[in-house]
Amino acid sequence: MTNLVEVNHLKKTYGKKGNLYTALENISFTIEQGEFIGIMGPSGAGKTTLLNILSTIDKPTSGDIKIGGADVTTMKDAALSTFRRHELGFIFQDFNLMDSLTVKENILLPLALDKQPVSDMEGRVLYVTKILGIDQLLKKYPNEISIGQKQRVSAARAMITKPQLIVADEPTGSLDSKSATELLQYLTEINTKEQATILMVTHDAFSASYCNRILFIKDGVLFSEIRRTGTRKEFFQKIIDMQATIGGGVSHDVI
């Protein structure tokens, strides 16, 4: 397996001199092609910060990140926009759909921005929405569908460009447990069917149990890492145990 993402000695501080706050300190890890990787940690650990930097939304204070061999920490603003459009797909906790666009328009937006032929776009939309079971909703507006459906629309938009990496920040955070389970199953399907590499931030052990591997961070540093070997149930138990070891801020009653 090749490494899709390489993170080296990442550091992020907030604030000015005299009032510096270190959100991330000396983080290094790699993600392999086709992995479904989770990032866990207590609230305020720096998960979102890490994800933002990985997805080029925020800049690190020092350290570097290579995605598909390209060093994204040295890219210029315009190049980064194009990079994000082509190589990254985003799923957010609060969906981040454009409420002025229909479901279909929301999903094909990244392709439209690339000025692709209409027939290609529509074919691709049909394909991804079939996978995610939202092909009946194309004409609706975001405020006309359920939140579970919204998150699947958001997932469809993330995968429509066949990105190298899909990043998801607490994608199940706003969902009820049934929709959350559905979404996780769909993500697993995307991961296996489309060979999409997925990076998911979560603080919820149940969601995390769908991943192949989990990185734990605490107070801005990489604390440990566990890999799924057996069943999902066993993996879930391992996650719970690790959370207990880390302690703080994470509830156990999520399942």
Partner: protein
């Protein structure tokens, strides 16, 4: 932290919002103060009081400005307070007492108000002299503007605006008592429902466009339009107004929505780059603001029409002075003593050299001809005319190097001179006959001219007939024949001293009353014509005619321009405020876009495009309305030069464009910031 400090901090943190509010209020105060100052300026009033009711006009404008300012301030204030409901909620949660919050909001508004008042007055003091100069220039007055600071104006301005600020402050202060906490948090979350279009949208869309076009059609050929309403002018005007206004509302509410929706059907363009965002956002914004945009379209149409209309009237009057008074000095030679003294005054004046001189004689007759007013019934009408001979006429034209000479075909032909004639409202009288009442002699109208040979007030402001010298000899007038001398001089625009000297001679030697009524020899009575007061001036200087006319119309133009200015600034501020508050609501959307790979340049472009459309649509509709209104006005006023109209309207559109640029810039700054939420 004291309440005052908190209030101060609040104003500072919301500075960018306040700038617009503050600027607009200061501007209104500044203009108001200037008008009140001018109304209190003794020197100005004394100088202009001859013919124009300057103080009344200035006070009236002041009141109008006040009305605008108050409406605008209440609107803007409501707008701000809506934005800040959440803040009130937050203070409440943090444990501030309602009374404290109330005091805070009261104080904040008063702080802004007092600062705006102070800067408005200071600016007003500085600029009122400039405004006065502009006014005097428009009135073509040679009074020098003295600068006198009016304490009275300061007090008046302070008292009125402090009262207004008290009112809005109390409104703000009472807000916290008027809502429940939960309502305060919901302030900005109005449902972003997307417009669905059905049969009615199409129907009203087409209807709206149709009504606007119908209004244009009627206005474009007004005289023809009037025929559709059985020659009822008033009815036709009402229909044009209603049709255009209702049409405008439907246009924005239905037509544009349908139009954009149709454009979205073309996927090849719609699914291309940022079009997806630009178009859908535009649809959203237009739907949300349709009525505001329509109102702005109508208000700007009104402003442009008023300012443009005033310019047209001003240009018309200016043309009319040139048409009716073609020589610089015209005087009656029937009083030899006065005439020779006037001739000496002119000849001896070192500042003005004579450049042309002519004599003209006329007789007054009563005559009948067909009324050629369009849509009139063409009946024969009886009126007085002044008759002049062909050689006198041609000589006066030739010496003056202007006007239209005539070559009468025979002794039965005549040239009709009517300074009110226009193709638009009259059928050409060419070929019609005119019959003198007493002699029963008939002339055929060979041609028509619109310029007086020397000046119309010396010939009773009547229409004139030019007949051959032979025919002229035979005509017996109802009055004695009058002989006038007409002179052109150099530097005629600055002949105040000479004009005054002549006036003095005339007053002493001829009569106190410088307008002499028509004396009918046949009845020995003094008569008035159907169309004018039938008095004749014994002498006239173009300088005085201009002075009198421009004192009135310069003032009208000035008032229209300044009212328009206040209006335009208020309109611009309102759209600006609305747009910027929407920008605040759209930060999230643009953040999403940036995350999924839209770069800053693309966002900037779409922001400018959308804001551009929102600004441009109402002004384009407004301009189109105004064009039709002004074309009509222009035709009524004999198509005067439209340069001034262009300048005036252009200035307003420029101000509006500046508002657009500021708004787009600020909008971009708001939504095109950091991607990371802090």
């Amino acid at each position: 932290m004291t309440l005052f400090k908190l209030a101060y901090k609040n104003v500072k943190s919301q500075f960018s919002d306040y700038v617009i509010y503050f600027f607009s209020i200061s501007f209104s105060i500044m203009i108001y103060f200037s008008f009140v100052s001018m109304a209190n300026d003794e020197a100005l009033l004394a100088a202009a009081s001859k013919s124009a009711k300057l103080d009344v006009a200035l006070q009236f404008s002041g009141v109008m400005i006040l009305v605008f300012a108050v409406l605008f301030m209440i609107y803007a204030n409501n707008f701000f307070i809506k934005k800040r409901k959440k803040e009130i909620g937050l203070y409440n949660l943090l444990g501030m007492k309602k009374l404290q919050i109330s005091k805070l909001f009261f104080m904040e508004n008063m702080v802004v108000g007092v600062v705006a008042l102070a800067s408005g007055i200071v600016l007003g003091v500085i600029l009122s002299k400039l405004f006065m100069l502009i006014l005097l220039r428009m009135m073509q007055s040679d009074v020098t503007a003295s600068f006198s600071f009016s304490m009275n104006a300061v007090f008046q301005t302070i008292i009125i605006f402090v009262l207004i600020f008290l009112f809005t402050s109390i409104q703000n202060a009472s807000l916290v008592y008027r809502y429940r906490l939960i309502d305060l948090f919901k302030a900005n979350s109005d449902g972003n429902k997307l417009p669905k279009i059905g049969f009615f949208s199409y129907f009203f869309g087409i209807l709206g466009l149709g009504m606007m076009l119908f209004g244009y059609y009627l206005a474009n050929d007004f005289m023809h339009g009037v025929e559709l309403f059985h020659n009822d002018f008033f009815m036709a005007a009402i229909v044009i107004f209603l049709s255009t206004i209702i049409g405008t509302y439907l246009f924005f509410n239905a037509f544009l929505v349908v139009f954009i929706k149709m454009k979205m059907k073309n996927k090849k363009t719609y699914y291309r780059g940022m079009n997806l965002i630009t178009t859908s956002n535009l649809l959203f914004r237009i739907k949300k603001n349709a009525s505001t945009l329509a109102t702005i379209a109508i208000l700007s149409a009104t402003t442009l029409s008023a300012v443009g209309g005033a310019s047209i009237v001003y240009s018309y009057v200016s043309d009319q002075v040139d048409r009716t008074t073609t020589y610089d000095i015209v005087y009656d030679e029937s009083n030899p003593a006065a005439a020779s003294e006037i001739a000496a005054l002119i000849a001896q004046n070192p500042d003005h050299k004579i450049t042309a001189e002519t004599e003209i004689s006329y007789k007054t007759v009563e005559a009948t001809t067909k009324n050629t007013v369009k849509q009139g019934n063409g009946e024969e009408v009886d009126d007085y005319y002044s008759v002049i001979s062909e050689s006198d006429y041609n000589q006066s034209i030739e010496k003056n190097k202007g006007g239209k000479k005539v070559q009468l075909e025979n002794n039965q032909q005549t040239l009709l001179i009517s300074m009110m004639y226009s193709d638009e409202f009259f059928d050409s009288p060419k070929g019609n006959s005119i019959t003198l009442k007493d002699s029963n002699e008939t002339f055929d109208i060979q041609d028509i001219a619109t310029e007086a040979p020397v000046s119309s007030v010396t010939t009773y402001n009547m229409n004139l007939l030019v007949v051959s010298d032979v025919a002229y000899q035979k005509i017996k007038g109802i009055e004695p024949e009058y002989h006038y001398r007409a002179v052109n001089v150099t530097n005629a625009k600055d002949m105040k001293a000479l004009a005054n000297a002549i006036r003095k001679v005339v007053t002493e030697k001829v009569s106190e009353n410088q307008r002499i009524p028509l004396q009918d020899n046949r009845t020995q009575t003094t008569e008035a014509s159907a169309f004018n007061d039938a008095t004749r001036a014994a002498y006239i200087t173009k300088y005085e005619v201009s002075q009198e006319v421009f004192a009135v119309f310069g003032l009208i133009m000035y008032v229209a321009a300044f009212l328009g200015l206040v209006f335009m600034v208020a309109t611009g501020s309102i759209i600006m405020l609305k747009q910027l508050s929407e920008a605040q609501e759209e930060i999230g959307r643009y953040r999403i876009l940036k995350k999924i790979g839209v770069n800053r340049k693309e966002i900037k472009k779409t922001v400018y495009k959308q804001t551009g459309f929102v600004f441009a649509l109402p002004i384009i509709v407004g301009i189109t309305h105004a064009i039709f209104a002004l074309r009509l006005a222009s035709s009524i006023f004999m198509n005067p030069s439209i340069l001034l109209t262009f300048l005036a309207c252009g200035m307003f559109i420029f101000i509006y464009a500046v508002f657009f640029l500021f708004t787009a810039r600020a909008y971009n700054k708001i939504v095109n910031g950091s991607m990371v939420q802090s």
